[in-house]
């Protein structure tokens, strides 16, 4: 209990964010699995300001994925409230939640989750279709988003023709295309080798620093969390630690120290993704 009280205290003094973007108040999530009740979140309160870069850490089963689902408006809390950009989204209907996801949230997944046999450009266009954007504007917005992740020249490639890192950059472009308030990344580097992981972190840091995008990142790797500004550690459905990263890593500075994968390896990695679009387990990659 004391830890929780302390963490709330820390939350309120979170630096790096000016205006409040996210506020959770005593959020509980209980899953009913047959006869058993699973208490995934046990009273989480938390504030995230605009422009923050938060890493959510914790073992599996700690509640971090549940938190992401709720932050991403894919799920609703059983109890408690969730204010996103000033509106209480915990009581919204499914249709309203879909609208929020479309307009305010950009998702990046561990498995990239690009539509197969669909060009990078069209993958990036996907959220704009549901936003009712005109075809011409869709096109230019998607191209601009691809440019931001440095993949404008791959616009007409299919996911199977792209390396894992490139696929994840397309996914980031897709998350950015509707100009969301927040980017939610769920283990975005979990399927990538170490250098590509840092490249992805570079893009996220760049978006956060230069464009002021709020980033919330779920990871179980301390190495990755070091690129964030703030870390939330979860255990047993509660926030156990909430601290600012003191010795923050800058991806741009780390990159030159890493060995470059030679061409052949990169091709192999891409080919692997092409034949088996399913996940490559982290143990295989590391």
């Amino acid at each position: 209990m004391s830890i929780e009280a302390k963490s709330e205290h820390v939350t309120n003094t979170a630096s790096g964010g000016n205006a409040e973007l996210i506020r959770l108040e005593n959020v509980h999530k209980i899953y009913q699995l047959g006869e058993v009740q699973v208490h995934a979140l046990r009273g989480v309160s938390l504030q995230i300001g605009r422009g923050e870069f938060v890493a959510v850490m914790g073992a599996s089963g700690s509640g971090k994925s549940t938190l992401m689902n709720i932050l991403g408006c894919l799920d609703r809390p059983t109890r408690g409230s969730y204010f996103l950009d000033g509106t209480d989204v915990s009581q919204l209907s499914k249709v309203e939640l879909a609208r929020i996801r479309n307009q305010k949230i950009g998702f990046v997944f561990q498995q990239f989750n690009l539509l197969p046999r669909t060009s990078a450009l069209e993958n990036v266009e996907l959220p704009t279709i549901y936003a009712g954007v005109s075809p011409a504007e869709r096109h230019s917005r998607a191209l601009a988003a691809l440019e931001r992740v440095g993949l404008a020249d791959r616009a007409h490639h299919f996911p199977s023709q792209l390396s894992g890192g490139q696929q994840q950059r397309v996914a980031i472009a897709r998350a950015l295309v509707n100009r969301p308030s927040i980017l939610l990344a769920d283990e975005p580097t979990g399927n990538l080798d170490s250098r590509t992981s840092v490249e992805i972190m570079d893009i996220l840091q760049h978006l956060n620093e230069e464009e002021g995008l709020t980033v919330v990142l779920v990871t179980h790797e301390h190495d990755i969390a070091q690129y964030a500004k703030r870390v939330l550690e979860f255990r047993d459905g509660r926030i156990r630690k909430d601290y600012q990263v003191s010795d923050r890593w800058v991806a741009r500075e780390v990159l030159p120290t890493l060995p470059v994968l030679d061409e052949l390896d990169a091709v192999e990695l891409g080919a692997q993704d092409a034949t088996a679009p399913g996940p490559v387990s982290p143990s295989e990659v590391w």
Binding site: N69, G72, L74, D75, K94, V95, A98, R99, R101, N102, Q103, F107, F109, Q111, N113, L115, R117, T118, L126, P127, I129, Y130, A131, G132, R174, N178, G278, P279
Partner: protein
């Protein structure tokens, strides 16, 4: 999300699995094609029957000799009691009947030089040509006087004329029926096949007196072709003719009638009825294929929903509502069934054209059938697409994104 986008997404999804989409559509293609072909054959037959009826005239009344009496059923033509006197009595006493022609018929060998043939030989009066609206293409018909004098003159159907004379002009030539010489006075207009499939041009027409006395050797007639003043009068005349003939033939019980009286519309109705039943039967067999096709679509759509669970999850995560997902899969199903419908219509049209061309059956393309087939195809897509689409929309985005 607007409709064009939904359609584009659907087309892309179908194009991704071309073979599968094609096989799925096959059921609908066969169903719709079969319905179109069946209906066009049916309509063709119906048209032919209508034509035949019109050529006989809707006022026509048909009085045939024949008995239906229990124990001695002889059917048509089996009795010898119908005579020309009966016909004259009808003309005299039933004012609704405007004109009438007696008909006796038989078959006999007809010879011209070294050619011979065995056509249907009909004996009648000049009214016959008028009642049946059947003119001559060359020469003329025989006269009342020639009927009265039992002259040896005849009019040939085109089939007979062709078989006996080839390219020669038959008018004025003499042919033999048995041993008796006949002068050809005319050649009938071509009439083609009847609704029952017999060649109406394979006949030779002579005065009934001549046929009765010199060829068939009988005194009675087989039937009377009569014409009433109007179509309604034809119906009204039937009981009057029946009453008159019963009186003349001394029949008390209608069951003992030795004649049948029917109007053209009776015959037409019967023929059309038979045709309809056949059509219905064939149509329902074809519809079974449509239903099977629909189930095929549902099956594939369910597979597709399972396969694309992740895609559905992604779409939901980036802002697709349940309605968007439902619409997407529904449009996919309808696109498939509609494409199948269109291909089915085309193959049905080609099929009925081929039937007309190679089997010689008459076919008639019906716009109604095409419209109905299109609507039914779309309906099947919706009907069998609803459940898979609903299933897709019910997916939980979190589960869907995690689906392997």
């Amino acid at each position: 999300m607007d409709f064009m986008n939904t359609l584009r997404i659907a087309l892309r999804a179908l194009a991704r699995n071309k073979l599968r989409s094609a096989l799925t559509m096959l059921g609908i293609i066969i169903g719709v094609g079969a319905v179109i072909a069946t209906v066009s054959i049916g309509q063709g037959a119906e048209y032919l029957i209508q034509q035949g009826i019109e050529s006989l005239g809707t006022n026509a009344v048909f009085i045939a000799a024949g008995s239906n009496r229990a124990g001695a059923r002889t059917g048509f033509w089996g009795v010898r009691t119908l005579t020309v006197e009966d016909m004259e009595a009808i003309l005299r006493e039933v004012p609704l009947i405007r004109s009438a022609a007696p008909v006796v018929f038989t078959r006999a060998q007809v010879v011209y030089q070294n050619q011979n043939w065995r056509p249907r030989i009909e004996g009648t009066t000049p009214e016959y040509f008028q009642i049946r609206r059947w003119g001559v293409q060359a020469g003329g018909i025989f006269s009342e006087d020639e009927v009265r004098s039992a002259a040896n003159v005849c009019v040939l159907g085109v089939t007979v004329a062709r078989l006996l004379f080839g390219n020669q002009d038959p008018i004025g030539q003499t042919i033999r029926i048995g041993e008796i010489p006949f002068r050809v006075v005319g050649v009938l207009e071509a009439k083609g096949q009847s609704a029952m499939g017999e060649d109406q041009d394979d006949r030779l027409i002579a005065p009934y007196t001549t046929v009765q006395r010199k060829i068939a050797g009988i005194t009675w007639i087989h039937y009377i072709n009569a014409s009433a003043i109007t179509k309604d009068a034809a119906q009204a005349a039937v009981p009057q003719i029946e009453a008159l003939l019963r009186e003349r033939h001394r029949i008390r019980n209608p069951e003992d009638d030795d004649f049948f009286v029917s109007t053209q519309s009776d015959v037409a109705e019967m023929a059309t009825q038979t045709e309809r039943v056949m059509n219905l039967l064939l149509g329902s067999i074809a519809s079974v294929s449509l239903i099977v096709g629909g189930i095929g679509i549902m099956n594939i759509m369910l597979v597709s929903v399972t396969e694309r669970t992740r895609e559905i999850g992604v779409r939901m995560a980036v802002g697709a509502t349940e309605a968007d997902v439902r619409r997407q899969f529904l449009v996919e199903a309808v696109t498939m069934s509609m494409a199948g419908g269109v291909i089915g219509i085309i193959s049905g049209l080609v099929g009925s054209w081929a039937i007309a061309k190679f089997l010689g059956w008459p076919t008639l393309i019906s716009a109604t059938a095409i419209v109905i087939a299109t609507v039914v195809a779309a309906g099947i897509g919706i009907l069998f697409g609803i459940y898979p689409a609903w299933k897709a929309a019910q997916l939980d985005p979190i589960e869907a994104l995690r689906y392997e």
